[in-house]
């Protein structure tokens, strides 16, 4: 099983994608399954080290949180953009990373970018710090704490521990 499905999450993801694309039918279910197995196997060499999913429910919860944040942040940022640019308080913020896994770090960076108002600008060479640009920052510590609490910690629980 391990050999056939080295990355079960990926396979699941691919299978669902296939079904989303084609709609469900037995034929596509089968074909999608085949593809979901074959494609990760075929691209196996491109995956040197991938973290294993530890906690699926938390992942679901994380996704929902992020979506919620996207919506609310969008509203907030829209106000900022439409308002006077002078009032903006831009800042570069360095976020010390607790995450160690590349994949998790990337997910964190992406999440930060997806939620309006912050963009992850760089990852330090030692992968200990994430540079973030914020559109309008009130207090650096607060922002860091918020990110750590809402995104980094869940990610750590989902992929690492």
């Amino acid at each position: 099983m391990r050999k056939l499905l080295p990355f079960p999450l990926l396979s699941l993801f691919l299978w669902l994608t296939w079904l989303l694309l084609n709609g469900f039918s037995w034929g596509h279910g089968l074909l999608g399954l085949v593809l979901a197995v074959v494609l990760p196997l075929g691209t196996r060499p491109f995956w040197p080290n991938v973290p294993h999913l530890r906690n699926f429910p938390k992942l679901v919860r994380f996704v929902l949180v992020v979506h919620w944040d996207i919506v609310t942040a969008n509203l907030a940022v829209a106000r900022l953009i439409l308002g006077s640019p002078r009032k903006l308080r831009p800042a570069f913020v360095e976020l010390p990373l607790e995450l160690e896994d590349d994949f998790a770090i990337t997910l964190l960076a992406s999440t930060i970018s997806l939620t309006p108002g912050t963009v992850s600008a760089d990852v330090s060479e030692d992968r200990r710090t994430l540079l973030i640009h914020a559109l309008d920052m009130d207090d650096e510590a607060e922002l860091v704490a918020q990110i750590k609490q809402r995104y980094e910690r869940p990610l750590k629980e989902i992929f690492e521990c």
Binding site: L21, L35, L39, F46, F103, T106, V123
Partner: protein
Amino acid sequence: MTLAVLVLLPFVGAALPLLADRLRASRTVLALSAALMPALALVLLIAPAGLVFDGQTVHAALPWVPSLGLALSFRLDGLALLFALLVLGIGLLVILYARYYLSAQEKAGRFFAFLLLFMGAMLGVVTSDNLLLLVLFWELTSLSSFLLIGFWSHQSAARKGARMALTVTGMGGLALLAGVLLIGQIVGSYSLGDALASGDLIRASELYPLILGLVLLGVFTKSAQFPFHFWLPHAMAAPTPVSAYLHSATMVKAGVFLLARFYPMLAGTNLWFDVVTLAGMATLLWGAAVALFQHDLKGLLAYSTISHLGLITLLFGLNSELAAVAAVFHIINHATFKASLFMAAGIIDHETGTRDMRRINGLWKYMPYTAVLAMVASAAMAGVPLLNGFLSKEMFFAETLESSRLGAMSWVLPLGATLGGVFSVAYSARFIHDVFFNGEPVNLPKFPPHEPPRYMKVPVEILVALCVAVGVLPSITVAGLLAVAAAATLGGELPEYHLAVWHGLNLPLMMSVVALVGGVLVYSSRNWLFRQYARLPEINANLIFERRIQGLARGAAALSNFLRNGSLQSYAAWLLTLVALVLLVHLSPAVLDGQRALLPLDGVSLLAGVMLVVAALITAILHRHRMTAIMSMSVVGLVVSLAFVRLSAPDLALTQLSVEIVTLLLLMLAMYFLPVRTRMESGWPRILRDLLLSVIIGGGVGVMAFAMMTSDFQSISGYFLENAKPGGGGTNVVNVILVDFRGFDTFGEITVLGIAAMGIYAMLRDLDLLSAPSDSLGRPWARDAHPLVLVTISRPLLPLALLISVYIFLRGHNLPGGGFIAGLITSVALLLQYVASGVAWVHRRMPGDYHPVVAVGLLLAGITGVASWFFGHPFLTSTFDYLYWPLVGKFEVASAMLFDIGVFLTVVGATLLMLANLGKLSLLDDKAKEGA
């Protein structure tokens, strides 16, 4: 048929000396091998000659190219016989002479081969019974003489002389060809017999002056008539046997031969008289006068030859039958004495090592025997009684007195003739006196000179003997031959004439006497004359000609380089100007007569259109800021894709979008090695010109587009819409067209892609390029080559993109998609791996040579096509069926899909072959930097 064989014998014979040379045969054997075929030809000539003397004309014909009217047909009449005898007879003597003349180091085999080639060509000219064949042999004489004159190719003079002769006579030959073709048009046949019989027709034709001009151009160039005489003296750079043969006895006679041959066809008009006579007269006088002043022995003889050819030409021009007879007679006589004189000159050159008469003096003492022979021949040339030259010259004088065409000016002709005679005597006297007497030799390279080898003199002896025999007993020796030759020339009855040494005391004899006495007087005042001559500016025709040719070549190069100036901008402007002209001239408002209803224009489309226009204009305006231009061009691409969406072309939208991305990758790869900015280089005139072209062509194409869109038309497309599903098994008609109806186009298209990839690979291999060590702002490049976020995201995208590719591929037959787009998506996903993780990383995980992928893709497409043969169908016939599987249900299997997989693989292979190798380029550069 003997005749045809006879003419072709020398050509065969040309191989023999070459063969002998190969076998390292002695020079005697070489000469014998060369002489074999001409001798045989001469023997074979005996039988037909008999018939000719009986008044018959012998014919032989082999078909060759009837479509062109070209046949290997020969005729032997008196004129042809006369010339055949000269060609073969003198040819044999020249071979014998050359055996001794050529030194041991020289490539005698080649020499004799060329000589025989020439002999064959000459024989062909004189015996042709077909006008085209005549021209063919005519040009062959030019070509073979080119080889002979240039035989001593290490000498600049020989090369130049050869080229000049070829150029001048070649030009004449081309003119003659044109003339002959016109004659053929009038006569309706290229048979010489037909043409000769159609003289009235030709002379009456309005093309006659043109024909005459063209033919005479051939004649005058070949026979070195004024003003085309200048090449002949420079042909003297040839070995003397060649001069003796070509430039006295044969080739230059081809011109006057043609006058004789075409006499019944072209002569008899005033135009003929005026042109031919005047050219002859001018040549006669010019040649005779200049000959006297030559210090080169062969130069003197060459100008004398020019002069005598002028005399013959003049005779033909007189439009009198007797004059024509005299001309033929003088041809014979001149051939004999001039050939012997050249040979004598060759002997002297051979024995003294020089041909400069200022150094050669008093040879009488050292080689009396040769001196006698040369003196007799010179006397013949001077027209001394009891020698052959006297007889024909007498006839010539007589004929000049007969003509009344010039009316009150008729005295000019005899006066000119006499004057020519005077100079002729003078230069003959110089040849005798200045060479054999006139004190002691001066500083000869070879001293003392001796008599030449015994057999080297034999040819001279024979020819001199002929001069004397004809001169003394013309009626026994030459009368018969002259009669048949003259009769053939005139093409009818011969006029009354008598060949005798003594015609009584008459005006012609007086003219001879005047010439003799005058000549001696002129010669005796030579020192004064030479001084006057030396004051004249020296005219070296060779130099002038060479300079002219060089100037011509320079001019040609200048013109060529002006047009082909090496500037792509100029070439492209020519091309586009042509297009603009087509549009300007042919695009009338009439094209806008369409009645088709217009589609409404909505705001979104309008704004999108404006965006495209703006982006395109910005691309053009800001093209010097390269990155900006690339970005604005991407906008154009995006809007074009959106336009395809809007205009019901989802397949095209997908294709355009994916191509767009790959193209941008490509450009970014290239930009690493290219300057980021373009300098302002075009001046305003050019920019305005280019703007004009852009406006005309862009506007024209736009107008045509509008005209097309607004007019209705009938097309074959209904067929595709109807048959896509039942016949092709798919509902996406575009895809069915691509893989089925017009699968062959697609086969070609993927081949193009594959070839492009191959060509790109070939260009990239071992290409050294310097990449920029810093960015456009002068900063060193960033350190982070493989950004973490990019790397991490790129990896799951690979299986995802592959999944999407499969999806796009499978649905292609029925819905937008297909192998091509799927292939591009896969390629982009793979390229992303390269971008994110680098070449080395990727190549550790997958083979880096994409040639086989392209090959397999193309082969798959090809084999799918071929497979239909086994079902009895043509290439690329597709088949499909519906299969039922439990659970899965009904699904379609089409051979076209296999073809589409071929497309997919080709696209993937080709794209990666191009871009991955382009990406690798920097690795080489890095290595180079490390090495440095």
